[in-house]
């Protein structure tokens, strides 16, 4: 993992000092709420429906055990004993007191964390594959580049007041687990024929009320040129992105207006003009950062472990967990383990302080002290020896963290919705709870197979409903919470936009509708065909008929 040097510490500490000063000025009345607002937002402090909410960055989803312990401590000391992991690899505390927030930020700074740029119209936390550095299918670990981008984007003098928020994601794997085509900038790490490392650069993806899949503007950007090229993209956007209408301010609208080719041309021209300036880091710095992400020394072990097979034969739930929640590691005899934060009937993405402490201890014991957070709102132990799986699972299961539903229908992404969010039209969390309760049967879920449900409480799409195999969107229908059903989206390498199936439903009706959609799939699927493939083959008609009846 990256470790701060004196300069990184100095910058983050200076920020805490600045914020402490701002909070004091607010508390004494020297600053009005209106004046304070932009300042607190730059430090991740939102005002929600009932209280302040502090959003803490987990840069590219990587946490150490000690950092996780500190999050647990903050949840216990300054909040109501839990934290919420988000779709952008951040963690949110829902009940901090304003007066405590500078202390919280100091607690974070002491373990090399911060809340910088988790809000506001700036470059947000860079996200990546939750299995980075562990996955069997990656070209290289994408995190050194994410760290490079984190540093470059922090307090950027020119790009801190963009037309709108700006999100960058990187993947290095065959399977896109970072949804790069749905980001303002998506980067795919690859190797060219000469064996050099570089990026495919995609711009203009985004969700919100106008969902757009990003377009490639460069097939191969040498890795050494990453920052200067990013700067060129951002300058074009900062100058020309719309500022008259916040719903048309994202880069996706500018890319649509100019056309991807013209956007590429302007970027290229600006890049040629600036690339000889010292914007890109020296090779020594790239190497320094990369060294922090050297793979852990793991003993090569056998993939056949009798204890695992034995327990799997005796215990269906363990067998299901191994099958769904563990995945192939680079090093034989090891796996990465997803700890599901989606217990059936529970709140997606929430973890208590005790659970966070436990995960930290388990990371120390079984996973080289490393933890990851996924955009699907789960936690990951990236480097676990297969032989440790029985003991690990028993401990997790006893703590309510043993759900075997990773990637299945109940592994639902849901935004905070009307339970917390001031912009919401409808509640998201209770819908997720109702669905996971309805489908609380592991055998049935395994039979249904991979199926991603994503729920947003309003058109801002924080729950990524456009990218759900089944998407659910909360709308306001004459003062009533109403839910639209969308089918056929994908956030992966085969990215697609989900389409609305028909009229919306009330809270009960939407759960019934999901069940009917699943029934059509189970009836129509061909051998081994997953939900999305069946939907793509059949189109919406049979689903429509099952849900709405013949009309």
């Amino acid at each position: 993992m990256y470790a701060y040097d004196q300069y990184d510490h100095a910058l983050v500490n200076a920020r805490v000092g600045e914020f402490r000063d701002q909070v004091n000025r607010r508390l004494s009345g020297e600053l009005t709420e209106e004046e304070f607002r932009p300042l607190r937002l730059m430090n991740g402090l939102y005002l929600q429906l009932h209280a302040y909410m502090l959003r803490v960055a987990i840069p590219y989803g990587t946490l150490s055990a000690n950092q996780m312990r500190r999050l647990a401590h903050i949840a216990r000391t300054y909040d109501k004993g839990y934290g919420h992991f988000t779709t952008r690899q951040n963690v949110q505390f829902n009940w901090p007191k304003l007066v405590d927030t500078p202390d919280i930020l100091q607690e974070l700074a002491d373990v090399e964390m911060h809340a910088i740029q988790t809000s506001g119209n700036c470059i947000r936390n860079v996200t990546t594959d939750q299995f980075a550095g562990a996955a069997g299918d990656e070209v290289a670990d994408p995190r050194p580049y994410a760290e490079l981008l984190r540093q470059w984007s922090t307090f950027h003098p020119e790009f801190s007041f963009l037309p709108r928020k700006f999100k960058i994601a990187i993947t290095a794997a065959k399977e896109d687990r970072a949804a790069v085509k749905w980001h303002d900038i998506g980067l795919i790490l690859k190797q060219n024929d000469a064996g050099e490392t570089g990026f495919e650069v995609i711009v203009g993806g985004g969700m919100g009320r106008t969902p757009v899949i990003g377009k490639t503007i460069r097939d191969f950007l040498p890795e050494a040129d990453l920052l200067s090229y990013m700067e060129a993209i951002l300058r074009v956007y900062n100058e020309q992105g719309r500022r008259d209408n916040k719903y048309k301010a994202r880069i996706k609208i500018l890319v649509e207006d100019l056309g991807a080719e013209e956007y590429a041309r302007q970027t290229e021209a600006e890049w040629q003009a600036i690339r000889n300036n010292p914007i890109d880091v020296p090779a020594e710095e790239a190497a320094r950062i990369r060294a922090f992400f050297a793979p852990p020394r793991l003993e090569v072990l056998s993939d056949d472990v009798a204890e695992v097979d034995d327990l799997a034969r005796q215990n269906f739930l363990f067998a299901a967990w191994v099958r769904n929640n563990t995945g192939k590691h680079k090093v034989p005899g090891h796996v990465h383990v997803t700890i599901s934060l989606k217990p059936h009937g529970g709140i997606p993405g929430d973890a208590t302080d005790a659970q966070m402490d436990l995960v930290a201890d388990l990371a120390d014991q079984y996973s080289q002290g490393e933890i990851r957070v996924s955009h699907a709102q789960n936690l990951i132990l990236p480097h676990v020896a297969k032989r440790d799986l029985p003991a690990l699972w028993k401990t997790l299961d006893a703590a309510g963290l043993g759900a075997a539903n990773q990637g299945l229908l109940t592994d639902i992404i849901a935004c905070p919705g009307l339970d917390y969010c001031a912009l919401a039209n409808a509640r998201s969390i209770p819908i997720a709870q109702a669905i996971t309760s309805r489908f609380d049967d592991m055998k049935r879920l395994m039979d249904i197979g991979p199926l991603k449900i994503k729920i947003s409480g309003c058109i801002n799409a924080c729950g990524h409903h456009h990218a759900g195999h089944i998407g659910i969107l909360g709308v306001d229908r004459r003062g009533e919470e109403n839910y639209q059903l969308l089918l056929g989206g994908s956030g992966a390498e085969d990215a697609s936009k989900a389409a609305i199936l028909g009229p919306g439903f009330g809270e009960e009706g939407i759960v019934d509708a999901v069940e009917k959609v699943v029934a059509v799939y189970l009836g129509e699927r061909e051998d081994g065909e997953e939900f999305l493939a069946t939907y793509r083959r059949l189109g919406p008609a049979p689903f429509k008929e099952a849900v709405y009846g013949a009309r």
Binding site: L39, Q151, S153, E158, S160, E285, R288
Partner: protein
Amino acid sequence: MALVNLTGKETGTWVHIGTETTIEDGAVVAAPLAQLVDADESFFKAVGAVGAVLATDADWRAVAPLANKLSFVVINFPSFSDGRGFSLAVRLRKDLGFRGEIRATGHTIPDQAMHLLRSGFDSVETPDAREEAFKAAVKRYQVFYQSDFTGRTSLAHARHARAEERKAS
């Protein structure tokens, strides 16, 4: 209004002229860009020094033909959140090689002091109540993660500066 000097370079004083104002010979004047684009040579000869007042959405290319006649530029922020002003200053320094004073007017906040300075601004006009906060903000950060177009190089370069020196010698 207070004038906060960000770079320590000498700041100027000038009068703003509108379309109607008659100019005293040798005066230092600031005028909207559009007016300067239309002005003839006699205007530039008559005044002592002239600066352009730019809106944040001004096209830097439109300033190019005038750049060597301008002593200073004023960029007026309608709102602190209009970040085009930063790119505009960068363009003046980077693409036009403009060396004169660049001043921010309008709505900026003290927390932008470093952004202004590092984008190429020399000074900022701000309500008196904000003066101290602006001055404090300039001093708060000593190192930066980015190279900018005012000659500051990034922390990434600083970290390896000694290695670079060794290579050079």
